[in-house]
Point group: D2
Chain length 383, copies 4
């Protein structure tokens, strides 16, 4: 059996959402043991949460700073920490652990400002530590397949990238009704200046970037906040110009009734097109120009090694969000072991979303906001 | 039996596409007889086409001017003419018939320039004639249902209009290979300055306008011509601002492999959302916020009178493009009879696409081109 | 222009359903003129219906016998008659016209008993007349494509045929509430002994027979009438054994809420499978064993000549039930012209559903009822 | 934190499929620790597999008998054993552990004969032990929702149950090519007399039984083995008569190209219908008679407490096969804790599939085989 990764967690206590997802993702392939945590800024909740998760009280910390220092000093200290706090805490927590030489697995977006993101990049470099950001949608096997098909030229030269991530839960003023998730996500001091943009728009951007392999060079954007008094955008309209003369559109919204987590991407080149939906992620439609469309299925016929590497069950047995997330975690476990065996962090990233991916996301947020503030002026970026 | 409408046709001879569609649409409900035509600018082809269509040789004309004059003079002259030529001929043909007092049913786009369109509007007014433009997608029963639901407030205040019309046939340089349809559609002297924009982008715009009931107030656009040497756009990216603070996006393309006639609209208000696809037009998804989505079906349960008026077969027996087109033609037949009985053309239009719809389309084309030429600057319009 | 077929109609007056469908189907390609009729057994309704349809009063008949004789004697008498009455009238009407040497286009099922059907076969043979039965679902282009793929071996040896035709409108006792369609369809004296079985089960059977090219050799059936007092079956369960060791199941029901006209067929051989749904008939899923499934589309890439022959609009513009029905009518028009030019009726049938198809349907009904009456005993047939 | 269940496993070593699934299912909610195993009948493979799974060598056993005895004697012995062997080993292994008073979680089918199954039932009763059989499809939240809707009368009286489970992997003679999964599944000495019937037909039966709440009273069946030399059925056709005058059909096949794990159920009552597909399990279509169909989604609006209890992620984030399986395991963990606290096994089963479910499956297999051997004669059962 491979050595298990000793994992700590910051955030993710009672009432949180994404922390539980990270924990399940880390368990699915049995590569981690969760042994330490600063699960909440509320000490009582932190302790109670730790107990419920089977974390020994001696390793349940009141603050992340304390945890970073204490874990560093232990012989059996954690190998890595998962950061699953609201956005504004990503940076300070990551900094604290990196400075102790502890590997970091951070939720997205990377930080709440590009400045912080670039500073974090420096800290990562100086630390020599492994750092990953959980752009989890890249962990779906058929997303890997799509990327592979673009790379191997099955679509020809890419011309168009149409991506959207649409929800409906903020159609009403959810943040006024005691919904904690809504509260911090619509509070710019905790979520950063982008609302919908930072929360799910970055996922859409990252997915487009990952599959197409193309940087976005310019954006023209129109951000809206439809609900009176809402402090952040809840709808994102972006036109994009990408490397190699490609064009694209990105739509992200949290006010479109009937959409749950409707993340969808379509990519077209001069030889073919691809279409993938997160809500039914076990299908990938491939349309070679001039031929009937083909439905590729997870674990089905005609897939690449990379797509086939990431499955646990036969074709037709749906794998979903948690398994895609687990693929990221499991690849990180392999990477961490390689680092412990002496490999450089850079050399083990392969397709794991890295700090560059995180910074690209922050540049995207920044540029979209700038463009929207300047009434849609095309703003250049390198992301 | 209602008196049949005596119909003439300009364009639509051998090798044409849309002429045959108009003829089938006029026949489905048996309300027209096609008795005269100037079917081609090539006299031999015109004659041969007329013979094949059962038009008597005495009423097969070499030129539309000749036809307009001759038909006017006959006691049994045509009641209306269908114009199914390439775009640049819409204006002169319409003018010729209107000046003879003959009703006009014109294909879209209205003309090849806004100037012509406005001039045509004057001519229509002066003539006192009936004038319709065949924005046929508005004839689908579930499109009528969608419009009805917006009007009766089932979606609440409209916030978002996302529309797309996507094809793939111009992924390669089809116009260089002898494809007549591709040739004129990519030739700005015959199609007007908009390529994909005028050909199918206007349909998308018109559909959004029709269902939402909202004018577009501003557009920011990015037009592309992906194929080297192609003289018109083949991809259209537009951000829209609509009446009442609504926002939208329009994507139209003819270079997206795997898309045939993928016209799709999604509309969202503060109380619910709607989704409709032309390629499977017998379904309309309605998502009241906070409840499960419902699938409305053509001729199925819970539809408005207007949607139910336009059906010929029971639910589950698919009706398609030709029946939607026929709905427009049949409503026009009713309207023409009312005019003949003394009603004013304005009073009989109801939901028939009129010259205002045509002019709106031209304004949209114009503004999108202006915006794109000014690198996406927001351009105001009243359409 | 081809000579138009002079058409008469028996049945199809006010309040009827299928008559209007036949009329539209005959008009779509402009190959017929409807000039005579005995549209209702109620003389007033017959006359009024004729007037509404533009049939001259001199050719609106009170009885079909009178019509057959009178039309025979006219120089400009009808070329063919469409029979669109309730089932029990199919036989006597067909007989009357065939005996006058007039071609017959009959709705299905052929008759209300196998005895009648076999007698009709004799009459047809003796008459030397053209005779077709409108198993209209065989007119869909992608149904032709499916048949072609079976014939050319793309599925290999056929092993399985799974077919179903499911509706929901008789979930309640519709026939007690004044619904004329429900009344005669649940009245064995008018519909024949099969209820759902004769009404739509025969369509499912015919479709399976048409595409697979395989006769059904044995059936084991369980018929049910779920509504108390209903005189005919409203649910049909059949296991089938077909030629060449193939097996199959047929399910037909009129009491399955949520199903409108859900006719669906799946066929599997040792090399591949096919799936087609009537409610979205512009798609055909082809699954070659060991490869990704492909979605063939009407008028799209990779279709046979026969499938391509039957289209009017480009791919992505949905054609539906009426166009499929029109394909049958248009092929019949061609066939009738060939007959008039001296060809034998047998030589012109090609893929037009003929009396053999009708008799097969009757044998199927008969055998299914026998099997069900004998508690599911396997009953042999040659259909 | 709840006490973790100490789990052992028999079967599931290298090269096996379902063992890994059970392990992931047990890990997802972190309620088990796998600490003992007899993972293979090949001692070397057993040891190697144990090491890979982190099972201490002292608790990796060569035989299940040895394991049952040894674990019984340990103070820290396992609380339960998961049996994931080929079918013929289910009985002896279960017997061995039950006789030591150890709880059993067995894969399906229960045994390879009804005699064994009934004997096992006695053993379970005598042992007083907890016993579950992993009919995992009942763990999907929307399957629970469907059951709930049937129970609360939303469908009215059930009339029809149409279920199918279709695959394609045995379209060719896979068992001759070294595929271990195919080898034992087509070998009646290891899989039992039912091939496809026992492997997946029982899942379809169980799902129908679970959701409808109705026993099957009679079956008429036609089993086929399409491949020459194949020793078990690879296609299953069954007509069913259920409690309360309901009827149904079950189709199961492993030779239908294009089908991966196409388990699908449709249930109809006099007030509405339901439809659910395993391959996209996050949707449930509900069609109240006379109203538009509604799409219920996992974690979406309008679900029962039972369906909502079984989710980990928000609506629109697909959960799949492994999460459904995990729901069974997690409920079993709760049940085992209750037993350890003194509750009787019977009192804690709730919706966990129990030995009765397993015996029903065996009765179904038996009766279907009997019916098929008697050429489709209706065979009574009480299952």
């Amino acid at each position: 059996m491979s050595k298990k990764i000793r994992l700590g967690m910051v955030g993710g206590g009672e009432g949180a959402f994404i922390g539980a997802v990270h924990r399940i993702a880390s368990r699915i392939d049995d590569r981690y043991e969760l042994i330490a945590g600063a699960l909440s800024s509320d000490p009582e909740r932190a302790a109670r949460s730790a107990e419920n998760l089977g974390i020994h009280s001696s390793r349940s910390y009141s603050t992340f700073t304390e945890m970073a220092i204490a874990e560093k000093q232990r012989e059996d200290g954690i190998d890595a920490v998962s950061i699953v706090t609201p956005n504004h805490m990503h940076f300070p927590v990551a900094k604290a652990f990196l400075e102790q030489g502890i590997a970091v697995i951070s939720d997205k977006p990377l930080t709440v400002s590009l400045e912080e993101a670039l500073e974090l990049e420096e800290i990562v470099k100086e630390s020599g530590c492994f750092f990953a950001v959980t752009h989890n949608y890249t962990g779906y096997p058929l997303v890997r397949q799509a990327k592979h098909m673009v790379e191997t030229g099955e679509l020809g030269n890419i011309r168009l990238v149409q991506v959207e991530y649409v929800q409906d839960w903020l159609t009403v003023k959810e943040e006024d009704g005691g919904n904690k998730q809504a509260e911090w996500r619509t509070d710019p001091t905790r979520s950063g200046p982008g609302g919908c943009l930072g929360d799910i728009g970055t996922h859409a951007f990252n997915l487009a970037r990952f599959i197409s392999g193309l940087k976005v060079e310019e954006v023209s954007a129109d951000l809206t906040s439809f609900l009176p008094g809402r402090q952040v955008d809840d709808n994102v309209h972006v036109m994009m110009r990408l490397e190699g003369q490609a064009k694209g559109m990105l739509w992200s919204s949290q006010v479109a009734p009937g959409n749950e987590n409707n993340l969808k991407i379509r990519i077209y080149g001069d030889k073919g097109g691809l279409e993938w939906h997160q809500e039914n992620p076990n299908k990938l439609i491939f349309s070679p120009f001039g031929e009937p469309s083909r439905t590729l299925t997870r674990a089905g016929h005609g897939l690449s090694d990379e797509a086939n590497r990431l499955i646990r069950t036969p074709a037709g047995h749906p794998e979903g969000y948690l398994e895609g997330f687990a693929n990221i975690y499991t690849d990180i476990a392999d990477a961490l072991l390689e680092c412990q065996a002496g490999a450089s962090p850079e050399s083990v990233m392969k397709l794991i979303p890295d700090i560059e991916a995180g910074i690209s996301g922050m540049k995207f947020i920044n540029s979209v906001i700038s463009s929207s503030q300047e009434n849609g002026k095309w703003v250049k970026l390198d992301a």
